[in-house]
């Protein structure tokens, strides 16, 4: 079975995620886009694992999921805290840490 469609889908998902991170202001949406990118890479890992006939990629995908879960916990906590203090979920508003 050809792996090309999976890889194309992975690339598409990754690109959508990347553009979303770059252009969207809402922190929640940006966050979801990051998840999208992570899952796009998971798809690529799994596809290559299948193509090469070993389990390395599968294991990497599991790792990514675990890390992503942890990241969601921390990231959402930060977003909620910022929203509580600043009444805004826009990433452009939280720009105090600068020159």
């Amino acid at each position: 079975m050809s792996t090309t469609p999976f890889l194309v889908l992975s690339a598409l998902l990754f690109s959508i995620g990347a553009i979303g991170v770059l252009v969207r202001r809402n922190a929640i949406v940006v966050f979801m886009c990051i998840e999208l990118m992570l899952n796009a890479s998971n798809l690529a890992f799994v596809t290559f694992a299948r193509q090469n006939g070993n389990l390395d990629g599968q294991i990497a995908a599991f790792f990514v999921m675990v890390v992503a879960a942890a990241e969601v916990v921390v990231g959402l906590a930060i977003i909620v805290t910022i929203y509580r203090t600043r009444r805004s979920a826009s990433v452009d508003d939280a720009s105090l840490l600068k020159y």
Binding site: L22, R25, V91, D92, A94, S95, L96, L97, K98, Y99
Partner: protein, 626 residues
């Protein structure tokens, strides 16, 4: 001789007790301070008698001072042992320093009686005596230099003794700084000695002198002369001496007339083996002496401040000694002879001036004196002895010593001789002026001044010094002084006078008489105004300004130095600092611009990460495909 070091140790210990003991010693400090130089005098006298009986110089090796370097081939070890040497030359100085110094200490008990820092004053005086004795008893140039710096320190402390007066503080600094210039010459001379001979002891240098080139000998002689000029206030380093009169009068008498300022003469005479090898250096000494003797005498003519008039005279008399010392073996003994008689009569006159000031409420302006001879009979008579001695009245000490120097000057060069005779005439003029303004004429006193004779503790030293001024000439009997100093300075030169000795004496006496007569006509018959006349000739104005010695120093040395400093400061600020600051500004400015990239917008960071990743991927692809 294990007891030789007592000569130095007694005053040094006394100074330590007085200066460390502080107020605890206030009650009896002046007595201890006076006893110390007198005890040294006794020890010195014993040593002198022993030297006269045995004929051999006394030595005492105290300790090894410096022992550096290995004696392996190609190395020159530096070894200095601190040894005291009591030879005929040192002996005369020891007796002068402790004898005249002791009398001045006694005088100071009375003079400083009202000063609540009298104990400290005596501490400093003892420190000076100890340092001066180290200077003359050393048998090594380095040890001599130790004493040399010690007397410089004591001089500084004593000139600035009344440091609450700004003028005194400034004068002390000036004396110290001008002396530094001379000391630089002295240091260089010592280094050159080590370089040339590998030793700095008198004996070692003396033995090595005939092995070095005449150029080295000349440089050595000139450097030593520079040191001597600084210490002895000779032109061109003369400017500090007149300001040094800010110190208490006993200091002026002891340090700036009788002893310390003659250290330069001692140095030249002690280094006779150096000057023997260099005609040029000898000539330089003669020129310095001749210029200074006229310079000081001219300044002395115009000063209304009695101490400054005497200071000009001191400069001039030391000029005579330098002149004699520069002439060579024919003059060394007479330089020392004049130094001794000058020590008596100048200390005598300075103390007399102190007595007058004491009577006049510390007024130093001679135009406010006048007619004091009836009220201060002892001061007048003793000062008179000093006066007759310095102008060279026949029979008095100065007559013999100055006459011998003038004879020696004529032997050397007729022009030098004429200069010396002229100096004698000017000396007669300004000393007669001092005499008339102070003791004769009408009373020009300020109000509320009630002159009174000084207490016996001050007049007794005056009388003793007057005796010395009167009979000091006995040292010349049978050529005693020449014979005594012969082991140190060598024999006399051959008699080679352009005219008979008696003729020279007559000429000198005539010139002196003319000087006295001019002074009498100008000050004895005319009424002297109580304020200094302002419409005076250009010469008087120059002499009042110390012949522009300070102005010359300022124009030739200070201003260019300031410009150089400013130039260096400019270079430092603009070039050195400029380069460093410029670099810092460049980096700071660049950073300021670069840090603008930190916008705080998360999305722009994400874009740069994405761009960076893309670049990395492209680079890897490019490598793979290439």
């Amino acid at each position: 001789m294990t007891w030789l070091s007592l000569i130095i140790l007694i005053p040094a210990a006394s100074a330590a007790v007085l200066l460390i003991g502080g107020r605890l010693t206030d009650g009896w400090g002046h007595l201890l301070g006076t006893a110390a130089p007198l005890a040294s005098f006794v020890v010195g006298l014993v040593a002198f008698l022993k030297l006269r009986n045995d004929g051999d110089p006394l030595h005492q090796n105290l300790f090894t001072w410096i022992n550096a370097g290995s004696s392996a081939p190609g190395n020159t070890p530096f070894h200095v042992s601190f040894t005291l040497l009591f030879d005929p030359l040192s002996a005369l100085f020891v007796l002068l320093i402790t004898g005249v110094g002791g009398l001045i200490h006694i005088y100071s008990i009375g003079y400083m009686a009202d000063d609540d820092r009298r104990r400290r004053f005596f501490g400093y005086l003892n420190l000076f005596v100890a340092a001066m004795l180290t200077l003359v008893l050393a048998n090594d140039y380095l040890a001599l230099f130790l004493g040399w710096e010690g007397v410089g320190l004591a001089s500084y402390l004593l000139i600035g003794f009344w440091q609450y007066k700004n003028s005194a503080a400034v004068a002390a600094k000036k004396a110290f700084i001008v002396n530094r210039v001379g000391d630089a010459g002295m240091l260089l001379a010592i280094m050159l000695m080590f370089r040339s001979f590998g030793t700095t002891s008198f004996a070692g240098v003396s033995a090595g002198m005939d092995r070095v080139s005449s150029g080295t000998a000349t440089v050595l002689g000139l450097l030593l002369l520079l040191g001597a000029c600084g210490k002895s206030a000779q032109v061109p380093l003369q400017s500090w001496l007149l300001d040094a009169m800010e110190g208490p009068t006993p200091v002026s008498a002891l340090i700036h007339a009788a002893t310390m300022v003659t250290a330069g003469v001692y140095l030249v005479v002690r280094s006779n083996f150096v000057y023997a090898q260099s005609q040029a250096a000898q000539t330089a000494v003669v020129v310095v002496g001749l210029v200074t003797l006229l310079w000081g005498a001219i300044i002395g003519c115009a000063k209304d401040d009695i101490k400054k008039a005497l200071a000009g005279s001191t400069m001039s008399q030391i000029g005579y000694m330098m002149l004699a010392a520069g002439i060579g073996p024919a003059g060394y003994a007479f330089a020392i002879f004049h130094l001794l008689t000058h020590g008596f009569f100048k200390a005598n006159m300075f103390l007399g001036a102190g007595s007058v000031m004491h009577a006049m409420d510390d007024d130093v302006d001679m135009r406010h004196y006048g007619g004091l001879r009836k009220l201060l009979p002892i001061t007048f008579l003793t000062f008179g002895c000093g006066y007759l001695a310095i102008i060279g009245f026949p029979g008095f000490a100065g007559f013999w010593s100055k006459d011998k120097i003038i004879e020696a000057a004529f032997q050397d060069n007729v022009l030098v001789g004429i200069g010396a005779v002229l100096g004698a005439g000017i000396t007669a003029f300004y000393m007669t002026r001092v005499m008339i303004l102070t003791f004769f004429g009408e009373r020009r006193w300020r109000e509320n001044v009630h002159p009174h004779e000084a207490p016996p503790v001050m007049t007794v030293p005056l009388v003793l010094l007057a005796v010395g001024s009167t009979f000091g000439g006995v040292m010349l009997l049978d050529g005693w002084i020449q014979g005594w100093l012969k082991p140190v300075v060598g024999g006399e030169g051959q008699e080679n006078l352009p005219m008979a000795a008696w003729l020279i004496q007559v000429i000198v006496l005539v010139v002196v008489a003319v000087g006295i007569a001019i002074a009498y006509l100008a000050y004895g018959r005319e009424t002297v105004s109580a304020t200094a006349p302002t419409r005076v000739s250009v010469f008087t104005r120059a002499a009042r300004a110390d012949l522009y010695g300070d102005a010359i120093n300022e124009a030739v040395l200070m201003r260019p130095g300031e410009y150089l400093t400013r130039l260096l400061v400019f270079f430092d600020n603009r070039r050195v600092d400029g380069a460093v600051n410029g670099l810092a500004a460049l980096i700071g400015g660049t950073s300021g611009r670069v840090r603008r990239w930190q916008t705080g917008f998360v999305r722009s960071y994400a874009l740069s990460m994405l761009g960076g990743s893309a670049v990395v991927v492209l680079a890897m692809l490019a490598v793979k495909l290439a």
